[in-house]
């Protein structure tokens, strides 16, 4: 991101100390957020990547601080007594138009959340992404859905673990599958760098791609969330590892109490009845 300099003409001088100071305003992100704000209705807004909406299925708009999140209902319930399934997409992805194959047998409603800066959700100004903010995105979806089981893909798998620990009474089992952004930025601070990206008007937000590939995921931090899930959830095994890739944060969970390894469809069938 390059600062475009707009001081001078419109600078306001405010003397309040011996030698000044003088104030200026600089724009660090020249994109007008209004140009990328998601419009009303379920079909998105100008500037957003088109997404095929399942006919007759609603999109619910949620507010997470200044961000407007798109929560898509992908399928109605076949059995109203079963809680919803919430799908969290991978880094750079968005909610698919149809439930993935592994979720085909889920008897309750199937919903998908577009994370901040993804799909139809708002592109924030000037980045600032963290996995924890996406956890709070998922919590906004839970505030709407109530108790849910979560299927997380890639980055969404990591966020699913966090929200299982953060809201153990609302999340009834998470299934973690392979997908973009599953690795993150390693287990400790990486080589020094200042991440930059060009502001965009189309999702996924390049700042999300830049920042969420360097977000640090220490194994003991992931294990803390597992411990929260185990201690406060009444499920015996609230976390299911269903992918092939085992980045360090996930490898640290493997074999611990509360974690099992099972194909995603089998795990979902189990959580649907549990």
């Amino acid at each position: 991101m390059t600062a475009s300099t707009t001081p001078g003409g419109d600078a306001t001088e405010r003397r309040r100390a011996k030698s000044g100071p003088v104030s200026f305003d600089i724009e660090v992100d020249p994109v007008d957020p209004a140009a990328v704000a998601v419009g009303a209705g379920a079909t998105g807004a100008p500037g957003h990547r088109s997404r095929v909406e399942p006919a007759g299925e609603p999109t619910v708009w949620l507010r997470h601080n200044r961000i407007r999140l798109a929560l898509h209902r992908l399928r109605a319930a076949q059995d109203d007594t079963v809680r919803p399934l919430l799908i969290l997409h991978g880094l750079g992805e968005c909610t698919p138009a149809q439930p993935p194959e592994v979720a085909a047998a889920w008897p309750g409603e199937v919903w998908g959340l577009d994370f901040t800066g993804h799909g139809h959700s708002t592109i924030p100004r000037g980045g600032g992404y963290t996995a924890e903010i996406l956890m709070a995105d998922a919590d906004a979806a839970l505030a709407h859905l109530g108790e849910a089981t979560v299927l997380g893909r890639g980055l969404g798998a990591y966020v699913a673990l966090l929200i299982q620990g953060g809201r153990p009474h609302l999340v009834r089992g998470v299934v973690l599958v392979d997908g973009p952004g599953i690795v993150g930025g390693g287990i400790g601070p990486s080589a020094p760098r200042v991440t930059t990206a060009e502001p965009a008007t189309v999702t996924p937000d390049p700042f999300a791609l830049a920042e969420l590939t360097v977000d640090v995921r220490p194994p003991d931090y992931a294990v803390d969330y597992l411990r929260l899930a185990v201690r406060y959830s009444d499920l015996g095994e609230p976390v299911t590892l269903a992918g092939r890739v085992r980045p360090p944060w996930m490898a640290a969970l493997d074999g611990l109490p509360g974690v099992r390894t099972l194909p995603a469809a089998d795990a979902l069938a189990d959580y649907a009845t549990g």
């Binding site: 100390a17 100071p21 961000i67 000037g126 020094p192 803390d224 411990r227």
Partner: protein
């Protein structure tokens, strides 16, 4: 997104970039910055995103703050330049100096060297309980923050509220800061800082991650540490810092001085800084 940038001194003088601490704003340098400006420096400081007169951002993060610092350096245009940071601003500029050594000529760090000290050594069970409470609080806060506003009050009330976090600072000074860092509306004054920001967020960050940027710095380094323990400080002691100092670094621990070293002792810190700068 707009960042408010403040200057003290003559624009023709050589620039030095200041970074304030978390929950502060550029105006908190009003006692100290003029002393540096009077000695022939153009002091430039921005209000961090969400702080002071800068825009309230949609998201906040370390990566974004670093990028903002570099945006201000780009705006200043010259380089490499000396940088001075207090507390969070000190840690931030350590990262920038480590990442972009060609942009930074000198590093001055004022009580911005986090250490592990002061962090409780908890049992696994207690740690889980503590994290559960903090996480629930934080998620509840995120659910409610869209409509949040800071609590209004008189100038005196805001000053006294701030004194709870800055107990060593003089009440007259804190009253002076209110009209700069707060705005007035019909029901009173409110601090400008984004109400969505709060102390003690959640995340994997560990304090020593900033300290580990220190040993590799190749430019001259001056570290100043206030040794009086207080609520906003890190509780870092000299033996945490000394092994991490790069070759030739100057390190000045100050007994009886708190976290806001440059506000408690502006003349002393200015003397140390001006002696260090070329």
């Amino acid at each position: 997104m707009g960042l408010a940038v403040w200057e003290w001194g003559d624009r023709a003088d050589p620039p030095i970039l200041f970074a304030h601490g978390g929950f502060d704003f550029a105006g908190t340098y009003d006692a100290f910055a003029p002393l540096i400006a009077d000695a022939g420096w153009r002091v430039v400081c921005w209000d961090h995103r969400g702080h002071g007169d800068s825009d309230h951002a949609d998201l906040y993060g370390w990566e974004a703050d670093q990028r903002d610092a570099v945006a201000v350096m780009d705006w200043i245009g010259a380089g490499p330049i000396p940088v001075l940071g207090h507390s969070k601003g000190g840690g931030l500029l350590l990262n920038v100096a480590d990442a972009l050594p060609h942009r930074v000529s000198h590093v001055i760090n004022i009580d911005g060297l986090p250490s592990r000290r002061g962090w409780p050594d908890l049992s696994e069970r207690d740690r889980t309980s503590l994290r559960a409470g903090a996480l629930t609080d934080w998620l509840d806060h995120r659910r409610a923050t869209a409509d949040a506003m800071r609590k209004p009050g008189t100038i005196d009330e805001l000053a006294r509220r701030r004194q709870r976090m800055n107990p060593r600072l003089d009440l007259d000074w804190l009253r002076y800061l209110v009209p700069i860092g707060a705005f007035e509306s019909d029901d009173g004054w409110r601090w400008k800082i984004d109400p969505s920001m709060r102390m003690g967020g959640v995340g994997p960050w560990q304090p020593e991650w900033s300290m580990m940027r220190l040993p590799g710095l190749g430019m001259p380094v001056l570290g100043i540490l206030g040794l009086a323990v207080e609520v906003m400080g890190w509780g870092t002691i000299p033996s945490d810092v000394v092994p991490n100092l790069p070759e030739g670094a100057r390190f000045v621990p100050l007994e009886g001085v708190g976290h806001f070293v440059h506000i408690e002792q502006p003349e002393l810190v200015a003397e140390l800084v001006l002696d260090f700068l070329p």
